[in-house]
Symmetry: none
Subunit: 190 residues, 4 copies
């Protein structure tokens, strides 16, 4: 696939639009997120500019999704690498809550995009799940976790985190973090 390298200003503009799109999706509903609303938030004078920088709305959504995912993964990965699987799982959860604390809009936008299943990629979208399932499996092999279906447990853990994200407006995140770590540990350890 041949594609021209993007210039610096081009990249800056795209980043600006992506940021505005995230803010818009997090503030309004996904269904209410229009180019007009994004352009207003980005201080752009025309929605045409969004179409100029992104092939279509789908591409913009995909880029937003990938952008948040990458920053999320970098953030979480930087806080993992613990010795044991239990500790690693705990670190994962703490990192998730930490990211949520600092980047609530990003996580909300991310979940809303995923909920509306508009992501074209597919592969990337599931990477979250796969990595966690792998960690759980390794912990089981190491005898740190009890016997359970790692894929299903991964669904559970990520769902709990998502629940916290969607309720983060009305919940105390310190309490959530503590309870989440405790509950997951109880549910998984051998």
């Amino acid at each position: 696939m041949l594609m021209r390298a993007k210039s610096v200003t081009e990249q800056a503009r795209r980043a600006q639009i992506v940021a505005a799109a995230i803010a818009t999706i997090a503030e309004l509903d996904y269904a209410e997120t229009s180019f007009k609303a994004i352009a207003a938030r980005a201080g752009l004078s025309s929605t045409g500019l969004i179409s100029y920088h992104f092939k279509n709305k789908q591409e913009l959504v995909d880029v937003v999704f990938a952008d948040v995912l990458e920053r999320f993964q970098d953030f979480v990965n930087a806080r993992m690498g613990q010795a044991g699987a239990r500790e690693e799982l705990r670190a994962f959860l703490v990192a998730n809550i930490a990211f949520l604390r600092e980047h609530r809009a990003d996580m909300v936008a991310f979940l809303r995009i995923r909920a509306n299943a508009a992501v074209t990629d597919g592969g990337i979208a599931a990477s979250d799940h796969t990595a966690l399932a792998t960690l759980l499996r390794q912990g089981q092999e190491a005898g740190e976790f009890r016997a359970f279906d790692p894929d299903v447990m991964a669904v559970f853990v990520l769902a709990m985190r998502n629940g916290v994200v969607l309720r983060s407006g009305s919940l105390d995140l310190d309490v959530c973090e503590q309870e989440l770590v405790a509950a997951v540990d109880l549910a998984t350890r051998s």
Copy 2:
């Protein structure tokens, strides 16, 4: 609140449209669910007929939401009423999965509507959470559950169930049920 009794045909048509709306929301995205798509699925010749039977889109969505919620609650309540809180919680989870098995589209539609926050009611929408939090609190007082924040734990439990619903296309529900019951029990019992 005065309202004329609805005729049998009227009720049948409304039920048909509600069913078509559920199917549409479950199949397409919530954002893509238009009167046209619903009418097509219901075999109606005109979107005008939907407007004839429902004041506006909001009312249709509200009715769909309330309809699923009522059937869900009847279904679950009929399977609860156990002696202890641990058993009650288990029964709640089993009933949830059983409903999902039989009415997957309903649950998906329900969650998608709630995710897009378009429900006018408000009170009803949270009843799920409140009832569960109360059960957890009672279990704690009875000494069956360990100490945790009941509201946060209710968020966790419902989030896990939601995770199963949204993944139910690719997961084995028997496994999910077993794992869900086990995980929640481990996370909550004293």
Copy 3:
């Protein structure tokens, strides 16, 4: 033109619908007057009944217009027949205000229909004007009125009355009657 005689109940229903249409046009704008609004005011269970009794909306409007006009003319004619033209003109104006006092909705509806030029008839619509112009002409020939264009003066007189009708919500009709009689007399007498 052959047409079956209308039964008594048929006539009663038509009269009921016509009355409801008048009330609706007078209360709402002409543009907002729908079959639904008329049916509601008539206590009818279906707009289909209006279509059953009237070929289409145009016919209903025409009938409403002719109905008000006929009652108006009967009312006014019963109060005219004075000796001289000046007295006759005065009687015409007094009768107009009297009709307005008792049948404000009818006159408002009448004017609104005419303003929106939806009347098919044409001949009937102008009869008001023709009769008045004739009276003015006769008064001129009798030497009671000064020289003026009778058609134009008829437009003036009817316009003044219309102005009173449209403002009758906020004006004192006793004052209006007095001023109208005086002004028209001054403007016409020789």
Copy 4:
């Protein structure tokens, strides 16, 4: 009230649409005036363009109304400023007929909009009446006019003018002007 300055093209398009709206309202009924009819008259390819330039139909109607009113008032004011009240009243009437001669469609559209009471402004809509009533009152104080209710007389005078406007298709405006001036003078002078 903050609003971005409109570009030259923008202003030109808006003016074009306003002109088309006036022509449409004057030609068709007010009730029949749709965006489609206006777009056709303006040579626009899409009704969407009207929505692009005007927030909604109400704003377009308000702008049309204010536009005609402003041009009318400028036109009339430029022809007034006479010494006495009688002369001033006469100048007002002559100016009205002159404007009608040159801008019949504008006046018809204006009256139709007002008749259908769709004007949001409210304040401006009545200025016509207030100014005239004031002139009449001043003329009475100066002894030029006889005793009458100035508000009612203002209603009469404006109603007469409106009558001429609505009949201007079938009346000789020269005759109307002459008769109007004479009739009003007779009805008001002391």
